[in-house]
C-alpha cells in the first residue's frame, strides 16, 4: 500500500456478498474524496467446504467477513484509505488488522440487520458523517472525527456498497462468459 498521508484522501468501502450459487465474494472499493473510484479489489467466489461449515459452525460468517476475506483485500490494496466503511457488523473485527479505522455505516447495515442500536455494539461510538450515522471503536473515535474532515465532500456513504455489488456481479459475468467460451 502507498502511504495515504501525502496522497489525496481516500476512503474504502468493504462488503461481502453471499450467494447460494456462487459462494462468498468480497469487494473493497477505494474512492477519492469526491466519490470517484481509485481502486477496486475483489475476491473470486469462495466456497467453504462442508468441513468448514461444520467446524466453524455459526462463526463461519464472522471468520469470512471479519478475518479471511477482509484481511486479504486490505493487504492487497495499494491505496491506503483513511477510513474503511462496512455494511456488515462482522467486518468491524478487522479493526485490529486494518491500517485504518473501520466504521459501520448504520443505514447500509440496517437493510439486513434491522436497526443498529448502541447495545448491539458496546464499545462503539456513533458519529455523523456524510449524512449517515457511523459506528466506530471508541478508542478510535477521535481519530475518525479528524479524518472525516478531510473527506467532507463525500456525497454519500450508502450507495458505494451498491457499486461494489454491481461490480462483483459484472466480474462474475465476465468469468462465466470466459468459461463458456473456453
Amino acid at each position: 500500500m502507498t502511504s495515504g498521508a501525502a496522497a489525496e484522501p481516500a476512503i474504502g468501502f468493504y462488503t461481502v456478498e453471499q450467494s447460494e450459487f456462487t459462494g462468498w465474494t468480497g469487494g473493497l472499493l477505494v474512492l477519492n474524496g469526491g466519490g470517484r473510484p481509485l481502486e477496486f479489489q475483489c475476491t473470486l467466489p469462495i466456497r467453504p467446504s462442508r468441513a468448514h461449515e461444520i467446524l466453524y459452525g455459526a462463526t463461519l460468517r464472522d471468520y469470512l467477513i471479519g478475518d479471511a476475506i477482509g484481511s486479504l483485500l486490505l493487504s492487497r490494496c495499494r491505496n491506503t484509505p483513511l477510513l474503511v466503511c462496512c455494511d456488515q457488523p462482522e467486518a468491524l473485527q478487522l479493526d485490529g488488522h486494518a491500517p485504518c479505522p473501520l466504521a459501520l455505516v448504520c443505514e447500509a447495515a440496517e437493510t439486513d440487520e434491522g436497526p443498529i442500536t448502541a447495545d448491539m455494539l458496546p464499545g462503539y461510538d456513533e458519529i455523523e458523517f456524510a449524512g449517515s450515522q457511523i459506528r466506530v471503536a471508541i478508542e478510535r473515535a477521535d481519530e475518525v472525527r479528524q479524518t472525516i474532515q478531510r473527506l467532507a465532500n463525500l456525497p454519500d456513504l450508502t450507495e458505494p456498497f451498491g457499486r461494489i455489488r454491481e461490480a462483483i456481479g459484472e466480474a462474475q459475468k465476465q468469468v462465466a462468459r470466459a468459461r463458456s467460451a473456453a
Partner: protein, 591 residues
C-alpha cells in the same frame, strides 16, 4: 455359569441366605476400549483476489475553476485568453480552504454510468460501473448546475460519458446542448479528455458559447475565428480545452485541423445531419480529423431515408452501417450507440401538444385554377419524356401548393378564411400564435386580413439586425397576437414557449422541419398546452404528400421503435415522381 464353574442357585433362599454369598473372589478381565483418533485437517480457505487501479480518476486531472472560484479537482490548472469567446477560463490555485457545499437530500433515483457493449475489458467496464451516480455529483464541485437537470438529461449524460461513438438524437427542445456540455465538463474534470473540438453550423456558434458560459463557466472555450494567424494559434493552443468551429471554417482551415500533430480526444458534430452525404467535402474533412471519441448531436438523425444514418456513422464508427442495410439490422447495429427521446416520452409535466388537422375544401375559384394547372402540368411533364427531371416535377408541385394557399387570380383562400376565424378566438382569449408558411409571398397575402390581430413578421426579408427586436416585441407587446414566419427563418433557434397556438398554413416536405417549427412553442417552459393546426386541402397534392409522409412515419417508427418519435423523413425522388404517377430515375433527393 462363570469361568466354567457352575453355581446352583437356590430359588427359595432369602437375601440372608449364606448360599448367595460368593465363596471366593473372581477376577473379571475385559479388553480395554481403544478409541481411534481420526484427524480432520481443515485446509486453509483458498482465497484468490483480483485488483484494478483507476489512476485516471485520481491523477493527471485538469483543474478548472468552478462557480465559487474553487478549483474543481486535481492538480493542474489551465486557463486561456479566449478573445471574448464566452468561456471563463481561470488560472492559479486558491489558497482558501475548499468550501463544502450544503448537503442535498438523498435522491430517489440514482443514474449510473453503464459501460457500452463495445467496452469489453473488465477494468474498463468496472471503471465506468464504479463511477458515482450522477445525482450525487450534482451540486458538487464536479457537476455544479445553475438549474436542476431533468432526470432524462442525467440519463443522457450517463449515456454519453462512456461512449467513444455516440449519437444523441433527442427531439429538439430537450436540451442536447446542455447534456453535451455537462458531459464534456465531466470528462475534462475527470481527466478522461483534454482537448475537445465542437463543430456546429455558423449561426449556432454564439449559442454554444452562451451555453458553455451557463453550464460550464470554468471550462476554457474559444470559437475559432479571426485572422489566419489568430486561428492558427487557436488551433494549436493547448490552453483552449474546447475549440468551437463552424462547418464552413473547416474547409478554410483544413490544413490546420488535419495537421498530423493535431489530435482531439473528442470531436462533436452538432446538427450532424450536415454530414449525411458522405461525398460532400465537409463530411470528408470531419472523417479525417484525428480523434479518440466521436459524438453526433442531431434532432433529425434520419431526414430522408435510413441511409442518412450511414453517413453519420461513417464519422462515428466506420463500417458499423452499410448502404442498403435492412432497417431491422440498422436498428440493431445502432441501438447501443444512439439515444433518442421525445418530449412525450420524458417530460411528464410537459403540457400536451394537440394536433388539429384542418382538412378544408378549396374555394370554387381555387378549385378551378387548381384543376386547370394540374391537368395542364401533368400533360407537360409527360410530353417531356426523357428530358423529365425532378426539378420539373418540383415546379408543378410548388405551383399547386401555392394555389392551395391562394388563388393567384382572385386571392381567394379557404385557408385564410379558416385562419382568420381561428385567430378571432386566439386574440379574444389574449393568446398568441405563430403562423408558418413555406413562402414569404403567402405571408404578404395573409397580412391584410390578419393585421387587426397585431401582426409581426420573421422571415428572409426581415434584416438580421431587426429580428431580435421583432421577437422581443412579440414577447412583450400584448397587442401583438400573431407572428408570421417562414420555415427557413423561424424553425430553429427561437424560444417562443409563451405561444399556445401554432398554425402550419402549408406543409413542409419534411415532418422533421415541421417539428422544429412547432417546437418553437412546445418546449421546456411552455405556458400550457400547444395547439397545432395543420391546414390541408382535401383532394389536392397536399393530401397526397401527407399520405406518403404518413407512410414514412411508420418507417421511422420501425427504425426508432423505442422512441415513439414523430415522423422525420422527407420524400424521395421516386415518391415525388409518384405523386403524378410518373416514372423517374432511381435515387433520393434532399427534401
Amino acid at each position: 455359569m462363570l469361568d466354567g464353574i457352575q453355581i446352583e442357585i437356590d430359588a427359595a433362599a432369602t437375601v440372608a441366605d449364606a448360599a448367595l454369598k460368593p465363596a471366593k473372589a473372581f477376577n473379571l478381565v475385559t479388553d480395554p476400549i481403544r478409541p481411534k483418533a481420526l484427524p480432520i485437517r481443515l485446509k486453509p480457505l483458498e482465497i484468490k483476489s483480483v485488483g484494478y487501479q483507476f489512476p485516471r480518476a485520481g491523477g493527471g486531472v485538469t483543474v478548472f475553476r468552478n462557480r465559487s472560484g474553487q478549483p474543481a479537482t486535481g492538480p493542474a490548472t489551465t486557463g486561456t485568453d479566449d478573445g471574448g469567446s464566452g468561456g471563463a477560463g481561470g488560472s492559479g490555485a486558491s489558497s482558501a480552504p475548499p468550501a463544502v457545499p450544503p448537503r442535498r437530500p438523498k435522491p430517489e433515483k440514482l443514474t449510473r454510468i453503464r459501460p457500452p457493449a463495445d467496452v469489453v475489458k473488465i477494468e474498463d467496464r468496472l471503471f465506468y460501473m464504479l463511477q458515482p451516480p450522477l445525482e450525487l455529483l450534482v451540486g458538487s464541485e464536479q457537476l455544479d448546475f445553475p438549474f436542476d437537470p431533468f432526470p432524462y438529461q442525467l440519463d443522457g449524460i450517463a449515456f454519453l460519458f462512456p461512449r467513444y461513438a455516440a449519437v444523441l438524437a433527442d427531439e429538439m427542445g430537450l436540451g442536447k446542448t446542455m447534456q453535451a456540455i455537462s458531459t464534456i465538463r465531466l470528462l475534462l474534470c475527470s481527466g478522461e479528455v483534454r482537448s475537445v473540438l465542437l463543430i456546429c453550423p455558423k449561426p449556432l456558434v454564439s449559442n454554444w458559447l452562451r451555453e458553455f458560459s451557463l453550464w460550464a463557466p470554468e471550462i476554457p472555450v474559444a470559437a475559432i475565428g479571426g485572422t489566419a494567424p489568430t486561428r492558427q494559434y487557436q488551433w494549436t493552443s493547448p490552453d483552449i480545452a474546447v475549440k468551437i468551429a463552424n462547418y464552413e471554417l473547416l474547409m478554410r482551415d483544413r490544413d490546420s485541423v488535419l495537421d498530423p500533430d493535431q489530435h482531439f480526444d473528442l470531436v462533436i458534430l452538432d446538427e450532424a445531419q450536415r454530414i449525411k452525404n458522405q461525398r460532400n467535402s465537409t463530411s470528408m474533412i470531419v472523417r479525417q480529423i484525428s480523434r479518440t471519441r466521436s459524438w453526433a448531436l442531431t434532432g433529425t438523425p434520419v431526414e430522408n431515408s435510413p441511409e442518412d444514418l450511414v453517413g453519420i456513422f461513417e464519422f462515428l464508427s466506420p463500417g458499423v452501417l452499410r448502404p442498403e442495410m435492412p432497417m431491422p439490422m440498422i436498428a440493431q447495429a445502432t441501438r447501443d450507440h444512439m439515444l433518442r427521446r421525445t418530449k412525450d416520452m420524458v417530460l411528464e409535466d410537459m403540457p400536451p401538444k394537440l394536433y388539429r388537422d384542418a382538412e378544408l375544401e378549396l374555394t370554387p375559384e381555387q378549385w378551378a385554377t387548381y384543376e386547370k394547372a394540374e391537368s395542364e402540368g401533368v400533360v407537360q411533364l409527360e410530353n417531356l419524356e426523357q428530358q423529365l427531371t425532378i426539378q420539373h416535377v418540383f415546379e408543378l408541385v410548388l405551383r399547386l401548393k401555392q394555389i392551395c394557399n391562394f388563388d393567384p387570380a382572385t386571392g381567394s383562400s379557404a385557408k385564410l378564411e379558416r385562419l382568420v376565424a381561428d385567430m378571432e378566438e386566439v386574440a379574444a382569449s389574449g393568446q398568441k400564435a405563430i403562423i408558418f408558411s413555406q413562402w414569404v409571398d403567402s405571408v404578404d397575402q395573409m397580412r391584410p386580413a390578419l393585421e387587426r390581430f397585431g401582426t409581426l413578421e420573421y422571415h428572409g426579408r426581415i434584416p438580421h439586425k431587426q429580428r431580435e427586436g421583432v421577437i422581443q416585441q412579440f414577447k412583450e407587446d400584448p397587442s401583438k397576437h400573431v407572428i408570421m414566419m417562414s420555415y427557413g427563418a423561424g424553425s430553429v433557434g427561437l424560444n417562443l414557449q409563451f405561444c399556445r397556438y401554432v398554425f402550419l398554413f402549408d406543409r413542409w416536405w419534411n415532418p422533421a422541419i415541421e417539428d422544429q417549427a412547432i417546437n418553437r412553442a412546445h418546449r421546456i417552459g411552455a405556458a400550457g398546452s400547444v395547439t397545432v393546426t395543420r391546414m390541408l386541402m382535401t383532394g389536392t397534392i397536399e393530401q397526397r404528400i401527407a399520405t406518403v409522409l404518413d407512410q414514412k412515419r411508420e418507417m421511422f417508427d420501425e427504425l426508432f421503435a423505442d422512441s415513439r418519435a414523430p415522423g422525420s423523413v422527407g420524400l424521395s425522388r421516386q415518391e415525388i415522381f409518384g405523386l403524378f404517377n410518373l416514372r423517374g430515375p432511381k435515387g433520393a433527393i434532399a427534401a
